[in-house]
């Protein structure tokens, strides 16, 4: 009723609310960027300042020059990249098998895996540390990467999508004498491309942002990923607001850009993954 009576008002309210909430969502990030360009001490002045008096990249220079941020950036890229590639290989193969290949106990095994989703990952962390200790993998890239090489969520995502692959296609290939591996590589994988893209960006973002496990297993600074390095740096340099904000920019920017470039896949995967209930 109201809507038809005063459409311009409703329109103004709705768009105003949208603008307001979007501002709340983005402003902290913009302040981070602004503070990272301020001179030391400028962000803790009274009254607080919104924009730098003279924008400079000195904080970034200090970060990469003295604090070794370049190394952490490379570590993060290496760890997140390796987890993405390896987990894709494991998850896609397994998800396809659950969706399209017949074998005894398939449903039971799959349900068991989903049940494992209920157990918080942290339950496994303590013994996992001891296990990696005996494998000699504490404080190594492998120690961070190994537990992330397969995820129940990834397998589930691929399975959901792979079920739409027509059985006739696979049967026809089998009749033509193609091996299972060839069928997978040449027929199934191309069809699964969209979900692979989705899963890739999911895995990369998760691995990039992961905090608790790398914090535990990486004891040496030479292996630190960006979030760990940033948390460590912040405990020593909490009073250097501007420097810390530059560190936050370096940590957040790569994933934000990646998201902006590939958000279609990300959001699509989010909806697909949500068809759980």
């Amino acid at each position: 009723m109201n809507r038809t009576a005063r459409p311009w008002l409703a329109k103004a309210i709705i768009n105003g609310l949208l603008l307001g909430s979007a501002a709340l969502a983005v402003l902290p990030l913009l302040w981070m960027l602004s503070a990272s360009l301020m001179a030391p001490g400028e962000a803790s002045s009274l009254p607080p300042r919104l924009l730098p008096a003279h924008a400079s990249l000195d904080n970034y220079r200090a970060l990469f020059g003295q604090a070794g941020m370049g190394r952490y950036l490379l570590n993060s890229l290496l760890v997140a990249g390796a987890i993405t590639l390896l987990s894709l290989a494991c998850n896609v193969a397994a998800g396809y098998a659950f969706a399209k290949l017949r074998f005894g106990g398939r449903e039971r095994l799959f349900r068991g895996l989903l049940g494992a989703l209920l157990i918080p990952a942290q339950v496994a962390m303590l013994p996992l540390f001891l296990l990696l200790k005996y494998l000699g993998l504490v404080n190594s890239y492998a120690g961070v990467i190994a537990p992330g090489m397969a995820t129940v969520f990834g397998i589930f995502l691929v399975r959901q999508y792979a079920r739409s692959v027509p059985d006739e296609l696979l049967e026809a290939a089998r009749i033509d004498g193609a091996g299972e591996l060839r069928i997978f590589m040449q027929i199934v994988l191309p069809l699964l491309r969209p979900i692979v893209a989705t899963l890739a960006i999911f895995s990369f973002l998760t691995a990039w942002n992961d905090f608790m496990w790398p914090l535990i297993v990486l004891t040496g600074q030479e292996h630190y990923t960006l979030p760990i390095a940033l948390a460590s740096l912040s405990r020593e340099h909490w009073q250097d607001t501007e420097l810390m904000m530059a560190g936050s920019v370096v940590t957040v920017l790569p994933v934000l850009l990646l998201f902006l470039a590939m958000q279609r896949y990300y959001l699509a995967g989010l909806m697909l993954g949500s068809v759980k209930g």
Partner: protein, 296 residues
């Protein structure tokens, strides 16, 4: 190669990884929680004792465990509804036919989700600084006295909740938006012809149609919010006065700070039990609601 054998080959890498790095450790954690495994035992296995349920018993008698559980439940009980309200609100706005620039707003609202917790928690720490923070400055504009956001035990958790809502609401917003878009437009059409107001349409069409999605999303959020750790680690280090120490924080401190792996494992299992109970209860209540709805 026949399909079953191929299937196992395809499954092998994933199952191996999950078995070795998840299932096995979970079982080991259960065993560990019945021992007093600590630094002394790490140095010399002869210092290891089997203590049966002592760790659990000890925890249940420790005020710190109960307060950590209390803080976590507070975080979940306030954080999840707030977060859901924000998600639903923004999803409705985005779904409105009157909204302009949806793609832009969707991206902006979603941006906090993809950011790194540690980095953005730092931002919040500075924004909510009592003396120099912009939040208090803005409130001063309304004549409100400065609030000691992260230093006052009564305000620290609310501040962390606000942060978590800001960081996470975009995720559920997208899922709810998809749910909203899946509601057939004819339903609204018919309601409008019947002269139903926007509010009535929301109550009688939107909410019931969205119900399964809402239930699923809230269950996932609850189990996510129970795993509170990085936010207090960066923003308050569990303080002030341990008022933001969550169960997981307690597990981390107990296990990886003081190396009492036995009692830390017990903490982890108690958290698991609580999470399981709460989500199971929500599911049951949700289903019962469903059943009631079907009745004429």
């Amino acid at each position: 190669m026949n399909p079953p054998r191929a299937a196992w080959l395809f499954l092998m890498p994933a199952l191996l990884v999950l078995g070795l790095f998840f299932v096995l450790p979970v079982l080991a954690a259960l065993l560990l929680s019945f021992t007093d495994y600590d630094l002394y035992a790490l140095a010399d296995p002869r210092n290891l004792r089997f203590v049966a349920l002592d760790n659990y018993w000890g925890l249940l008698q420790r005020p710190l465990f109960w307060s950590a559980l209390g803080h976590t439940c507070y975080f979940v009980a306030v954080g999840v509804p707030l977060s859901m309200a924000a998600s639903l609100g923004t999803a409705l706005l985005l779904n409105s036919p009157l909204a302009r620039g949806q793609a832009f707003f969707r991206t902006a609202l979603f941006a906090p989700v993809v950011t790194t917790v540690v980095a953005v928690a730092l931002i919040w720490r500075y924004l909510f600084n009592t003396k120099y923070g912009l939040v208090n400055e803005a409130l001063a504009g309304f004549g409100i006295h400065p609030v000691d956001w992260l230093g006052d035990p009564h305000w620290a958790m609310p501040t962390i909740i606000l942060f978590a809502v800001w960081k996470n609401f975009g995720y559920n917003m997208i899922i709810l938006l998809a749910g909203l878009q899946a509601i057939p437009p004819e339903l609204y059409e018919a309601a409008r012809i019947d002269g139903a107001s926007a509010l009535r349409q929301f109550r009688h069409i939107t909410l019931p149609m969205l119900r399964p999605t809402l239930l699923m999303v809230s269950i996932l959020s609850v189990s996510g919010y129970f795993q509170l750790f990085a936010e207090p680690y960066v923003m308050t280090e569990g303080g002030p006065l341990q008022s933001t120490e969550s169960v997981l924080y307690l597990m981390y401190d107990e296990g990886f700070k003081w190396w009492n792996l036995g009692s830390a494992s017990a903490v982890a299992f108690l958290l698991f039990v609580v999470m399981f109970a709460v989500t199971a209860l929500m599911l049951r209540l949700g289903r019962r609601g469903d059943a009631a709805e079907v009745q004429p």
